[in-house]
Amino acid sequence: MCDFPFFSLVCTGEIFELKAELNSDKKEKKKEAVKKVIASMTVGKDVSALFPDVVNCMQTDNLELKKLVYLYLMNYAKSQPDMAIMAVNTFVKDCEDPNPLIRALAVRTMGCIRVDKITEYLCEPLRKCLKDEDPYVRKTAAVCVAKLHDINAQLVEDQGFLDTLKDLISDSNPMVVANAVAALSEIAESHPNSNLLDLNPQTINKLLTALNECTEWGQIFILDCLANYTPRDDRESQSICERVTPRLSHANSAVVLSAVKVLMKFMEMLPKDLDYYGTLLKKLAPPLVTLLSAEPELQYVALRNINLIVQRRPEILKHEMKVFFVKYNDPIYVKLEKLDIMIRLASQANIAQVLAELKEYATEVDVDFVRKAVRAIGRCAIKVEQSAERCVSTLLDLIQTKVNYVVQEAIVVIKDIFRKYPNKYESVIATLCENLDSLDEPEARAAMIWIVGEYAERIDNADELLESFLEGFHDESTQVQLQLLTAIVKLFLKKPTETQELVQQVLSLATQDSDNPDLRDRGYIYWRLLSTDPVAAKEVVLAEKPLISEETDLIEPTLLEELICHIGTLASVYHKPPSAFVEGSRGVQHKRLPGSAGSGESADSPDTGSAAGVSEAPPAVIPSQGDLLGDLLNLDLTPPTTSGPPPAPSSGMQMGAMDLLGGGLDSLVGLLHRTDTPQSPQLSHQSPSPPDYSPTEVGPGDHAGPVKARSPAMGAGFGAPPTAMPASFPPPVSGGLDDLFDLGGSVGMPMGAYSPPKSIWLPAMKAKGLEISGTFARRAGVIQMEMTLTNKAMSIMTDFAIQFNRNSFGLAPAGPLQVLTPVGPNQSIEVALPLSTVGPVMKMEPLTNLQVAVKNNIDVFYFSSQYPISMLFVEDGKMERQVFLATWKDIPNDNEAQFQIKDCHLNSDAASSKLQGSNVFTIAKRTVEGQDMLYQSMKLTNGIWVLAELRVQAGNPNYTVTCISKERCVHQGSSYRSNMLEF
């Protein structure tokens, strides 16, 4: 039986001896022998050979001996199921014992003998014990049901134990209630859909009563169970909160945190203007702070949870910064967590203190901690503008210490500071350059290269610096390589004369010698850009960068909400949903925060919408990589569809043939232009729209994003440029391109904007034979007036010109009317006039009325037309979720317009993607009673935001739209309607 001969020898000898002792007549000797057996078992020796002898000792009235034998049984029964049956009789007998302690012991142990055969014998005794007169037996039996369920779930259901268990919730003894709740919660977890723990106000009331009376552990079970309940209304929510708050003073931290969980969850339901809401917020802070004086392990768990709470409700702890100051003797895990929270709580009010602390930490011993402290200084600079200057000077001080990792970390954060405050702190570049040689980490090297490239015009020897990096190009990590490529291209564009050689060198390194498709593709794009149109290249590469966000490492809101529901548990420690680390069916169900008060009304609903929006696009916050992972696990991502044109050009790229590539692009352009709007959804796959590609969201991590994440963005990028290229890069597009190249971020360029069919604006009769029919469209971010001029007169028409009257949105021709050839009799000509929105403004009635004057060699003609408001929706009309919510609330009700759209046979998703084509962005989606509610935002060219709620009911072709805006614009309706009718 033993693996090693030596061991088996010892085992046999020992076992023989033990066997003799076990069969001895003397009770004491027997007991000692069993003790020895257990001792051997503990240290991992195999004593299963003694099974029959030990089981023989079971029949005894000595409780201690009995317990020992039971212990043995629990360990070995599984390996010897046949022999385990021998013990059954004793168990059954013990369950009838007059001593409740023995009855309980028997039922407890039987549940632990995890042998399927035994379970059927267990049922009868268990049923009796569940109804035992003694509470001690009942509370043990309640747990036993959970044990049995774990072995044989079907049996438990068939035998009706679940109902008995439910009855125990009404037991008179609080501990029985607590254990029954614990058992039911566990069983319910493996049956996500069953209504096992059907919590209703009556049972909740019972639980709350038991809460006051049971042990600390029981209180935890009950509170954790309460947290799964969703109160019917805010009043019930408040009354539960009131009864739970006293638990915040319990000595057991687990009771406190579980109470915090219940309160955090139920608070969502309370109206924010309620006095009680404020009181509750105030009550939460002290117990959370007290948790920090517990043992370090508990502090750690508490801090991980506080990190979540601070993200969800920063107001709770905003005045408690000091308690998160790091103590010299704190264990490292506590230090790191405290630092994290300090940054989150940093604000203008406390920044001086925080900075002084961080500076102190940066001189400590632990490398990880020091790095994080340095990084924190940078984050403070970005978060609190007033402190930026002080932060930068602190960082410079730290760089002077010349401690290698401090310097590297400082450079990484300084790069971010440059991004946030352009043209402000560049004077420090010289100091940074001094430390060039000491940088050996990819992130720091990449950051330094970025700085050199970005400010090449101010660094005299930028070319030398970059060249020095280029020597070991192939040994660098991808991150550095990509950065170096971009930096040298930037340098070239800024100082073209002296750096031609350098740029050629890097392009050939990137395109010919590299196996990395990312690098190669980026190289080719630059190459092509530079060779075809240097001006465009400049616009693309040196375009203005979007500002970086203030908060970093925020947990994605949907995940955060789920984690709030798991406060105190492992999920909150790992900051991952349970499904990420729990196997099997348990914990797979995602918990959600309840909706706020009156969720039927529109005011607060986007909030809940975000909770329900599983299929929704992740919002614009940039999650850190780790969180993203959790997020991916969370979302059921359909594989990104790269159907349609993109593969073609990219394969062309890889072949490296410029002409081929050009041809490919041109043909694509043609293709795209021919394609009419109705097919646009198919094309919109190409635009790197956030919903499909969450990896592209890695965004302004600025070149730090993983390779994998970037690839789809690049792939998608190929799809996008064709529309833009022929127009020789109009500015908005180049911004988007730059993003793609430079940041791996994404700016959507929806192409399927709706445009109505052409109608006759100016009949020939009124204009001496000139007939003008036309329409408005938004193509690639530019508003166009597309006209067909038909000459129905007998003579040739030439010298066309156009002018607009002042109008509501300041529309004006962006250039002269491009009619170069004369228009002969019965000839017609298509012309597209790009429009700008910077002309003089005057309110028109109706709002979208446009008065136009057209002149030709014959005369001047006047006509008026109406444009669809949708063409004024700009591409960056996607509002951030939080902003959306806040704005929605701010706008008074009378700015609201509601109307119906009839006969639309689309589901909400199709509608949403369709509208996205017209720059109507869906921010959140929520399903209430079969009704899909889409929350959408759009921005007009004059900067007015319009928010809308679209209700779609399955099977009902009529949609309801509610529009609001800060300015009253009732005309919204018409535009929406026209957009929808298009379907």
Partner: protein
């Protein structure tokens, strides 16, 4: 819930292993762990042994310092706490309540200490049967059950199960106590002399900048009681809590309230032993309870306002060239001159490259301890409103270490006979209507001890 609980010695050998659930230590762990221990026997117990070994290899024997008290190895989570050389680890595969698991591990330590004193390898080995028995009782299928030592001692004893043939009444008394509402106290306790000892133990924490600015300071206090009272007494505890006194002041407007109002303290937060009726505290802010018998901690509290800082440390560090440091530290006692502080110890860190130290101190004894990289200055007693000083010359070995010395803070230990938070016990009333003793018959002792927590001054 908790899947298993293991106790290891410092070498990583298993002293106690109790598995509650089969899910821990399955396939994932097996694949990850090569053969580690030869003593791993047959398939019998190999499931649990995988978890046991995984923890040993990844945490106890890990090369680097442990970075988190929660470790996830192959989808199995390990929670651990360490008591001297002994590791306690709880293992689970589910999304358990992490706070509860740690609270339970601490509780487990408390229970074990209550039974056999210090948790050491020897004690654990000698009491392993008892520990198994306790584990069986206080953790059922991974769910913590009643863990109050008072209740447990009624039926689990070191001499084996107490009364071999308990009477029926006794049995039901035991069970009703274990499961009952007052699980911490048994009925029928009798003392000839009813006595109460009440200790207010405070630890005062301070972090001060070199310039003498208080960066953070708080007192975490405990009210610890020893009660030897007969029957089921109802107790009521009162202290100079600002909220209570203000309320009384408003109600009565009496002079007394106004007078005591001055001495009241603002308590930031407090937590109570489970015997205290929390809902009553929440509504009336009165602390009423039926006390456990013997030792227990009634409450913990925290204050941050108006703290009396018993000592002030004034450091002066001067670098003389690259090989010499001059350090001068002055301590000032800041309390009534009639009181005496005890066990004063000042710890002044020295750089790692210290070669020699010369010390002069006015009072007490000072020593340079090379192994601890610190000068330790001890003073047995010091009265209030005094000051004392130490000066040291530290000689340094020249190094080419670029990194500057981090200058850890100067820390201090002491004990003072008052409560630095200003907390005063106003009353502790005992009512026992069934037995014939009254509040006046109970002998009560009150003592205040203020100790240093983390009392640091940066230099």
């Amino acid at each position: 819930m908790i899947g298993g609980l293991f106790i290891y010695n410092h070498k990583g050998e298993v002293l106690i292993s109790r598995v509650y659930r089969d899910d821990i230590g399955e396939a994932g762990l097996k694949a990850e762990q090569p053969i580690i221990s030869r003593s791993v026997p047959k398939p019998v117990s190999c499931l649990k042994r995988n978890a046991v070994d995984a923890f040993r290899v990844n945490v106890i024997h890990a090369r680097q310092q442990v970075r988190s008290p929660v470790t996830n190895i192959a989808r199995t989570s390990f929670f651990h706490v360490k008591r001297s050389n002994i590791w306690l680890a709880a293992v689970t595969k589910q999304n358990v309540n992490a706070t509860m698991v740690f609270e339970f591990l601490y509780k487990m330590c408390d229970v074990m200490s209550a039974y056999f004193g210090k948790i050491s390898e020897e004690n654990v080995k000698n009491n392993f049967v008892l520990i198994y028995e306790l584990l069986d009782e206080i953790l059922d299928f991974g769910y913590p059950q009643n863990s109050e030592t008072g209740a447990l001692k009624t039926f689990i004893t070191q001499q084996g199960i107490k009364s071999q043939v308990p009477t029926k009444e006794e049995q039901s008394q035991i069970t009703s106590q274990v499961t009952g509402q007052i699980g911490w106290r048994r009925e029928g306790i009798k003392y000839r002399r009813n006595e109460l000892f009440l200790d207010v133990l405070e630890s005062v924490n301070l972090l001060m900048s070199p310039q003498g600015q208080v960066l953070s300071a708080h007192v975490s206090g405990r009210v610890v009681m020893k009660s030897y009272l007969s029957g089921m007494p109802e107790c009521k505890f009162g202290m100079n809590d600002k909220i209570v006194i203000d309320k009384q002041g408003k109600g009565g407007g009496s002079e007394e309230a106004a007078k005591s109002g001055k001495q009241s303290i603002a308590i930031d937060d407090c937590t109570f032993h489970q015997c205290v009726r929390l809902s009553k505290f929440d509504s009336e802010r009165s602390i009423s309870f039926i006390p456990p018998d013997g030792d227990y901690e009634l409450m913990r509290y925290r204050t941050t306002k108006d703290i009396i800082l018993p000592f002030r440390v004034i450091p002066l560090v001067r670098e003389v060239g690259r090989t010499k440091l001059e350090v001068k530290v002055v301590i000032k006692s800041n309390f009534k001159s009639s009181l005496l502080a005890q066990k004063i110890e000042v710890r002044i860190p020295t750089p790692l490259n210290t070669s020699g130290v010369q010390l002069i101190c006015m009072k007490g004894k000072a020593k340079y301890k090379a192994s601890e990289n610190a000068i330790v200055w001890k003073i047995k007693r010091m009265a209030g409103m005094k000051e004392s000083q130490i000066s040291a010359e530290i000689e340094l070995l020249p190094t080419n270490d670029k990194k500057k010395w981090a200058r850890p803070p100067i820390s201090m230990n002491f004990e003072v006979p008052f409560a630095p938070s200003g907390l005063k016990v106003r009353y502790l009333k005992v009512f026992e209507p069934k037995l014939n003793y009254s509040d006046h018959d109970v002998i009560k002792w009150v003592r205040y001890i203020g100790r240093s927590g983390i009392y640091e001054t940066r230099c």
